[in-house]
Amino acid sequence: MSEHVRTQEEIAARVKALESILIEKGIMTTAAVDRLVEIYENEVGPQLGAKVVARAWTDPDFKQRLLADATGACAEFGIGGLQGEDMVVVENTADVHNVIVCTLCSCYPWPVLGLPPNWYKEPAYRARVVKEPRKVLRDEFGYDLPGSVEVRVWDSSSEMRYWVLPERPEGTGGLSEAELAGLVTRDSMIGVGPAASPVS
């Protein structure tokens, strides 16, 4: 167990050394790294969760299925897989606000949100959001919840992957499902912000 905190240059050299050994042992290839990176940079991200949310906003039957069995409902879109094998969606309402965290590591629903932002994985958010969620949302994310709204924090300690169905914004009655999906932000599905309002 080393107590040396490596510089970026040292980490880069260490990773390259490790990768070179793993390549020679037949465990890794640069082509496989490139493909995996391409998937999470370009194919799997919050745009997928946004499609699911927009459907739930416009189709009450689908919303019911999503809240009862998120994994099955997402599979209707062909969405699912690694780090989302067992998903649970929790619904925000006028009276209830949900927010997700993983205090023990960095569990996050990859198939619908992609890879987590760094702040989600870093110590401050993980330590604080279970203890002072209102303060974290207000001071760090500019999202001030009224005292009348119950705040529910979901600590992803098992392999269940929680994510949030945000409230549909006001004034979106005439929007198409695709336009609605454009309002669904990553942060709104983590629960650290609302869905975006339509540009008037």
């Binding site: 080393s2 905190v5 970026q8 240059e9 980490i11 880069a12 260490r14 990773v15 390259k16 050394a17 490790l18 990768e19 070179s20 050994i21 390549i23 020679e24 037949g26 465990i27 890794m28 290839t29 640069t30 082509a31 496989a32 790294v33 493909r35 995996l36 990176v37 999470y40 062909g78 897989g81 690694l82 989302g84 094998e85 067992d86 205090t103 023990l104 590591c105 992609g114 890879l115 760094n118 870093e122 110590p123 401050a124 330590a127 604080r128 279970v130 203890k131 209102r134 974290v136 760090e140 005292g147 709204v149 119950e150 529910r152 600590d155 992803s156 098992s158 392999e159 269940m160 929680y162």
Partner: protein
């Protein structure tokens, strides 16, 4: 283990740093470190619970100060060394080489099976649910208390929940038990439940924010029936 990774409720860690935007990977090395998880998993370095336990054994100061994906590098090294899959002297020697020659290229090998593995595992996942004949000891609505002792080795029984009492609100079925699989044992499936705790139960009435709850998932051995006779649990 009572490790620094068990962060829930820790004070003094400062602001949450939220940049306006950031790339999925902030450096080239993060891409390779990220990919090592899937490929070393395939090669038998670790299961996901062991993977986490390797990270938990990092030096606590380094854990807190290092960029996130470096944690993944540590656990690959940890199991590579422990299972005799990596020659650490060779790793040190090559590290020195790449420090002195940061633009030196990597060895090239082709293996279409590895790309095919990536294409298959991302959409299919690696489910942790496991069949079990065990009947559940608890049901939704039960009041339960999380065991308060300090287990050695890997556990998901976070300190801030230990000794606390809440209500089971969801029952998920049986899953790999991290306290077994993370410590080199078998899957040993156990029932998983979601327990709802009030903020006041977790943090005390003087510290707790009003009108809030925390949901935390437990495996059945983590909990006992709450003592409802009025004595403190």
């Amino acid at each position: 283990m009572n490790g620094v990774h068990d962060l829930g409720g820790t004070d003094g860690l400062g602001r949450v740093e939220v940049p306006e935007t950031e790339p999925v990977f902030r450096a080239e090395w993060e891409k390779a470190a990220f990919a090592m998880f899937s490929m070393c998993f395939r090669a038998g370095f670790f299961g996901v619970d062991e993977f986490r336990y390797g990270i938990e054994q990092m030096h606590p100061a380094v854990y807190l100060l290092s960029p996130y994906y470096e944690h993944w590098v540590h656990t690959v090294e940890h199991y590579g060394q422990a299972k005799g899959l990596l020659d650490m002297d060779e790793l040190d020697r090559r590290t020195q080489y790449y420090l002195e020659h940061p633009d030196a290229s990597l060895p090239q090998r082709d293996d279409p099976d590895l790309v095919a593995f990536i294409e298959a595992v991302v959409p299919a996942g690696a489910p942790a649910g496991r069949e079990s004949e065990k009947a559940p000891r608890f049901k939704v609505g039960d009041q339960v208390t999380v065991r308060a002792d300090s287990p050695l080795g890997h556990t998901r029984r976070a300190r801030y929940t230990r000794g606390r009492t809440g209500e089971i609100v969801l029952a998920h079925g049986t899953f790999i038990y991290p306290d077994s699989a993370g410590n080199g044992g078998g899957d040993a499936p156990e029932h998983v439940y979601t327990v709802k705790f009030t903020n006041a139960e977790l943090w005390g009435p003087d510290t707790a924010e009003p009108n809030g709850v925390v949901y935390f998932d437990v495996w059945e051995p983590y909990i006992v029936p709450a003592d409802t006779t009025g004595a403190a649990a």
